[in-house]
């Protein structure tokens, strides 16, 4: 069923004429890709990971044999509905701005007794294994489906995180002199045939939030923003960013705040 749909969309995209790469003319294939994404978002296999994530949230696990049901994602202990849309945010208990996955990892450590080193060892999905934080963040994200993105900027540390994230975004270094902005700082660019949204602009920054966590059909794996940031830095020819680190929370603050006001449609699906 899905394969017929995929073939149909691929045929439609292949038939679309290639426009010359002029800055002014909009790319007609972009509309086709958007239509493809919307159709594929119905019956998204990410929902399987939402269900798994909810099981993990309620299960007693780890050395402390405790559930995550008292985890405070920013709206009070145990409040999951709407929390993802309001992250990253500042947490006084650890004196740090945290994104969703960093906060989940924090709760797994403090409530359940897991060690950071265990969780950071192999934090990304493979064909045969989906790490628990990935299923958990998929569940948490799904509980903000249909809500407006509203990462707060009330606390001075939240404002610091935004500005630091912006500086990180624009920092050119590495073997290729790339910053995030090298690919994501201009309009109407694409790498091969993959469109590159301009994350410095609010109406395009929503693409940094929407679609994540995302089910990737290539390999049938669930990936979160922590994976996306890691893989971006690999392609930027940088060394590796720490999993669930403050650097990535700051970067995610910059991207999410830029997207504030847009409605989050929940976990996405990708090629």
């Amino acid at each position: 069923m899905k394969q017929a749909l995929v073939l149909g969309i691929v045929a439609a995209v292949a038939a679309a004429p290639w426009l010359p790469a002029a800055a002014q003319t909009p790319d007609p294939t972009a509309a086709e890709f958007d239509k493809f994404r919307e159709i594929m978002e119905q019956d998204n296999p990410a929902e399987l990971f939402e269900v798994k994530g909810e099981e993990l949230w309620r299960a007693r696990r780890g050395p402390k044999n405790a559930s995550l049901e008292q985890c405070d994602l920013g709206l009070g202990p145990g409040v999951v509905k709407g929390a993802y849309a309001q992250l990253p945010r500042y947490f006084a208990d650890i004196d740090r701005v945290m994104d969703a996955e960093a906060r989940i990892v924090h709760c797994m450590m403090t409530l359940q007794g897991f060690k950071y080193e265990e969780l950071a060892k192999q934090p990304f999905s493979s064909l045969t294994r989906t790490p628990e934080p990935v299923s958990l963040v998929t569940y948490v994200a799904a509980q903000s489906r249909g809500m407006k993105i509203a990462s707060p900027q009330n606390h001075p540390r939240e404002r610091d995180a935004y500005e630091t994230g912006k500086a990180i975004f624009h920092y050119r270094a590495g073997a290729f002199d790339f910053s995030c902005a090298s690919c994501h700082g201009a309009d109407d660019k694409r790498i091969r045939t993959q469109p590159l949204p301009n994350f410095t602009k609010p109406e395009q920054a929503v693409r940094a939030v929407q679609g994540w966590p995302g089910y990737r059909m290539t390999g049938g794996v669930m990936h979160s923003l922590q994976w996306r940031m890691n893989d971006c830095y690999r392609q930027q020819r940088f060394p590796e960013p720490g999993y669930a680190s403050e650097t990535l929370s700051a970067l995610l603050t910059y991207l999410t705040v830029n997207a504030n006001g847009h409605v989050y449609r929940g976990p996405g699906i990708k090629r």
């Binding site: 624009h170 073997a175 290729f176 940088f238 650097t247």
Partner: protein
């Protein structure tokens, strides 16, 4: 890339609370401190890659829009560091060049140098490849448009070796300068752009 003016215009137009006022200070030192603490070396990508060299420092400081005298000085330095082939020949094999242009790997933490040029990631090159990026300008009919002379050959090779020698804050990597490509690979790419027989110039 004139980021500062684009962002301030966006602020004025959209009246976002997050950029209603410009930042009180330079946040780059905070950013760098966090990155140095939170990143780790992996494979061939060492922590030294986080350190700015003279080009990166200038482009970061001036947000890719350096003053003319700064650009002139650094471009001259970058140009003088270009190693031209000892045999004076700049054209290799365009067929090999097409394969190098198609290969998007190399210099990441999971591989090494001398692998690929990633050209199609950012540019249109040959006429038969429709899966090309638009980060950089089209290179289709490169020599057909500019001429086949020794001066253009030198420009092509030099640009591949070190794009910053010609445009300080270009987004194009310095393939020769960082040894992402070997001399032979750069000759093959130059041939892809400059050889009259190359499909690029048909």
């Amino acid at each position: 890339m004139r980021r500062a003016s684009v962002v301030s215009l966006a602020c004025v137009a959209l009246l976002l609370a997050s950029c209603a006022a410009p930042p009180s200070r330079d946040y780059q030192p905070d950013a760098l401190a966090l990155m140095k603490r939170d990143f780790q070396a992996k494979g061939s990508a060492g922590m030294d890659r986080l350190n700015e060299d003279s080009v990166q420092a200038a482009c970061n400081k001036f947000q890719d829009d350096p003053p003319q005298e700064v650009a002139d000085k650094l471009q001259k330095e970058q140009f003088s560091a270009i190693k031209w082939p000892a045999d004076g020949k700049l054209l290799g094999d365009w067929k090999a060049g097409e394969r190098i242009a198609q290969n998007g790997q190399g210099m990441a933490w999971n591989d090494k140098g001398g692998v690929g040029g990633s050209c199609y990631n950012c540019h249109q090159v040959g006429p038969r490849e429709s899966s090309f990026g638009t980060v950089g300008p089209s290179l289709y009919q490169f020599a057909k448009k500019r001429g086949y002379g020794a001066d253009i050959q030198r420009y092509a090779y030099g640009k591949i070796y070190n794009a910053k020698a010609y445009n300080l804050c270009s987004q194009m990597p310095r393939f020769g300068h960082v040894r992402a490509l070997t001399e032979q690979q750069m000759k093959d790419l130059t041939a892809l752009l400059m050889d009259p027989a190359s499909p690029v110039n048909q």
